[in-house]
Symmetry: D2
Subunit: 360 residues, 4 copies
């Protein structure tokens, strides 16, 4: 268990701290011959980058990605692809007052407990800044899946606080998702969400929410029983994203109240293809994709960094009060959408390569 790697045949390893020199990733095992440019990757990164709208953190980072290896004359070569973005806005003095205390519900205390040492500048390695590396890697997987295999991945904000859209995920388009700064394809609810975030931010507080992930066009057969079930690895991928506290697939937690006779998805044949009338399974049966749309939910807790005064302890184990001043997002959901996309793409890509390898 390496901690900083994910995947088997399409394997990524990320590095970098929030206020260190750089953040980046190596992809090991990318199939050769894929056309890829830094611009394409940048597009996905721009969806994650700070300062992109009035409801995100004002930290100024261009997040400019460089590909240093593994791409030759515009194509992947099958060798490791390294991508790096140097950090720019690293005023670590902002964090000096946090050096000697453990912020509530942050990883300060646990990193120090685990390692005996921590980079206290902007959460160090525990910062969500690390997810930039995932988005860069996921951009390549996402492109491959779409162009070579016709698999489309799209995620959107389904809930912020108690505000929730009931839009049909089968009909959501990428364009709808990108049509507003909250990345909720239901424009009416989106406006309300934005207002709510602004209100909560102005009160010095923060909000959680739910992102819905959708994977269309995955062929039957992806997923490796029994431990590496499609939804088990997908769940792990999502739970590894900062601030995520829950994951479910298909009917998920709501399904526990149903009866088997309601919940079972009857098979039928539609133009020669195996389909199910309902899809409570969420596109996965026995850990293997069924060919139906895969959909899942990812629950994000409210951001831990708030401006309100809080009680906590310092490294000398004394009680202190904390009034944070650092830059932060009042709600991570809009910037987390491309991260969910990326992690989903990495999971599906890896399953695809492994399945291709093992199948007769």
């Amino acid at each position: 268990m390496s901690g900083n790697s994910f995947g088997t045949l399409f394997k990524i390893t990320t590095f970098g701290e929030s206020h260190g020199r750089a953040v980046g990733v190596i992809i090991d095992g990318c199939p050769p011959g894929i056309e890829i440019t830094e611009e394409e990757i940048q597009k996905e990164l721009d969806r994650r980058k700070p300062g992109q709208s009035k409801i995100t953190t004002p930290r100024k980072e261009a997040d400019t990605i460089q590909i240093t290896s593994g791409v030759f004359e515009g194509k992947t070569t099958g060798t490791p692809i390294m991508m790096i973005a140097y950090n720019e806005d690293i005023e670590s003095d902002d964090y000096l007052d946090l050096k000697d205390l453990y912020r509530p519900s942050h990883a300060d205390y646990t990193y120090e407990a685990k390692y005996g040492i921590r980079d206290w500048r902007g959460s160090g390695r525990a910062s969500a800044r690390e997810t930039m590396a995932r988005v860069a890697a996921g951009a390549i997987a996402k492109k491959y899946l779409k162009e070579k295999l016709g698999i489309e991945i799209l995620s959107y904000v389904e809930q912020v606080g108690d505000l929730k859209t009931n839009i049909d995920f089968e009909k959501v388009t990428p364009k709808q998702i990108e049509s507003n700064i909250i990345r909720c394809p239901d424009s009416k609810i989106a406006s309300e969400m934005i207002k709510l975030i602004e209100k909560v931010r102005d009160a010095g507080d923060s909000l959680g929410g739910i992102i819905k992930g959708v994977i269309k066009g995955a062929p039957p057969g992806l997923g490796e029983p029994v431990f590496d079930k499609l939804h088990a690895n997908l769940g792990k991928a999502m739970l590894s994203i900062n601030a995520v506290k829950g994951f479910d697939i298909g009917s998920g937690f709501a399904g526990v109240s149903m009866r088997g006779s309601e919940h079972n998805d009857p098979f039928y044949i539609d133009e020669g293809k195996v389909r199910t009338k309902t899809n409570y399974a969420g596109g996965v049966l026995g850990g293997i994709s069924s060919g139906q749309t895969i959909y899942f939910r990812v629950a994000f807790k409210p951001v831990s960094t708030i401006k309100k005064k809080q009680q906590t302890i310092n490294t000398a184990k004394k009680q202190v009060f904390l009034e944070a001043s650092g830059r932060h997002d009042p709600c991570v959901l809009p910037r987390a959408v491309p991260i969910v996309d990326a992690m989903a793409a990495l999971v599906i890509m890896d399953f695809y390569l492994v399945h291709r390898g093992k199948s007769e």
Copy 2:
């Protein structure tokens, strides 16, 4: 990705089909010198075995485990521990009528799509019978964690259908859990759950529910950022259990409606120890255990095998009707409790060994 292995330093690999010759497991990496007997393992297996009560499947299996290697004169030797249970009640004729069709919400179709071949006898490898192997391996991990490290793992049924207990998980005891056949420590709700299961079973239908998992006494420092976060691997472990559709930790899905100022868990010092006043985090910060109690929920869908008539397709891709007659559980929750225990023990054990290896 091997599919049938779980863990890095404490690594298990399971084998076996529901109606094949045997089901079993290899543990590779078990620390040497642990006293262990077949009887101790059998005790955990008996909590999972079929036919244990009136609300479980009548399939008759003693699930008698044999240790064939890795234990010498009553102690583990550090070499691979193989444990096997031969199947007994394998009347595969019961399943002959299922040979040529795909049962709704079962893995029949996806296994055939993936492999081009499937063992149709009682779901073959996709059967929950495989989890017996996990329970056997988990029994050793559970013992080690408890006796060497003082870490206690206990799970219980929190919800069946819409019936839910609100009992405080911090106070639940193993004895309470084992005091009734549904494994819900709240005896009043337990009786109602049993009645509900019987009613639904008699109607030829099935039920889902939620198991709460609790890990007490884990020291701070377990979990490997950033991909192998404690709750990411725990989530994967739970999602790999048959019929599981959701996982959350701490506040989980409920936490999305909270504000940061409510959800943050203030640190304080209690007799020299770092504690938090609330524990919405569920004992994990930044993917690393904080020393607080770890608690999580696992959502099980209603069992797919029901006696009601259902529409489905056969392998010739024609519409057919199915009236299942095989033996099955109307609700898997009571038998799934030791599986949740086992998977939690495997996750924590592996994190413990990896942490010990890497720490300075």
Copy 3:
């Protein structure tokens, strides 16, 4: 690092001690649809089994293999294949006098140093009896490679003590190898080798030697740079066999005395195919197969178990003398030939599946 597993997509995990209940293996990741019978596997095992000729150990073991899972109606299903052979001739009393001492050049001391405990019966897990499991797994890989891909693996005894054959490995046939009990395809040298082994055995001593491994028909492209080079993983596989102390490929150790101008293998085109005039590289360039024959040498030390009186220490760390009486081989080479075959097959099979997975 699990220790007892080998491979990534075609992954084996072995278990069992020399005088425990059983020895066996799980193959995880075997492609589905391969026809396989216990008889086919038994044939390879019979080449390894004890007591097969006058120059091998008299231990009586039928090594009867059972497939307990992963094969259905004569074909692999893609699920884990478990194979087990129960031990029969386990008179551990033979080893009672070895319980409290460390035999020279055996693993007794190091197992105890590592684990603090050891199964002293017939070397326990350190016994070459474990390799039976490898041969069983390798038999399936060997069959797949030959029948599906036209890749043939054959090994033979090239040297025993100082007796060496100079036969051209490109022309050796399986039939020649099996034509005598030493498995040296050069019948004249084979007779001398047998005589030498008998002479040394009668003197209570033991002998080492070299096995040549040959892989014909491997397509270009197998092997994963830079750490998992074809010959790096092949070397690891061979060095993991009991008593092996050296490995080289192509020109190997002899090549160090050559000049680049001699050693370079000129490319040419032969009926449209890329070939090399010489093959000092041994069929591997930059860690990737070139399409030429892969050939390598595996050096075995003389067997550690001898009948001569030896000085050693006991577990109380006192000097003692040892006169071994247990059954053993005076020279492991003839029985090691199928083990080399098996390990080569496992390496190539795994590379093939990984390459198929990752390639565009």
Copy 4:
């Protein structure tokens, strides 16, 4: 199998091509709290860098390493350490004439066969330039092993062409090794080796040789049976170095001519410590370190790049002649010494952490 990673708990992943933007490495799993500076790492890199003496390639590379993450205030933090060196002397025009042909005994042909595409500039990823990344990672492992555990790793040139030193490896010091440009601690033979290399270089040809590796002070118990034996993983590590064709440990290939009674190493007690009178085993019994000195040999073929005219084929599969003009080493041995050191350090470090994790 990721190809570009090595290790389990101390895991490295390298990236970069010879004439791409940069070469580098991520270490995932380095214990926290190790003091490390770029200067210390640079010292090891300087031993490998081109242009260091009259007998190495004139390519001008400072190989200046930057640590971008995982080190904070001079100490490792337990998070991934990324180190990168940007390439400077990348006149790829030098290689334009090699773009369309496959050099004999180079990886040009096999990379193209495997990936369908290759970076032809200076061998791309197949260049030994990649080993710079290994040396950087190994420098940290080497320091940890020496300072925390008292394990010393030192390698030296034992043979060049037919010139061989018989110096006692137990007595060789780092200072002796660094006392001449060939890194052979026997100054008389060293002078002859240098002369031989110059002579062969002037003739437009190249030379191979043998490096001896020595590991002193390793405690008993390192190595994981049965597949991850200490010498199996060490062998793999060495065979993964460019131009290596062979590996043996202890008596190695020479041992095959010995009798068991000669080859067995008698145990005795020396001041309370378990020692052996001889050490033909090379410090490893049953794949586990015994506490004796570990020593091994690594065989390097003569460099493939020579100035003599050679016959080969081009990518259009026509016969052509090649007269190479690029910069190269006539003999890689002196620059390979720190690479052998590094790989040995990585192997031992990983075994140490895994052993610490699993041990009771």
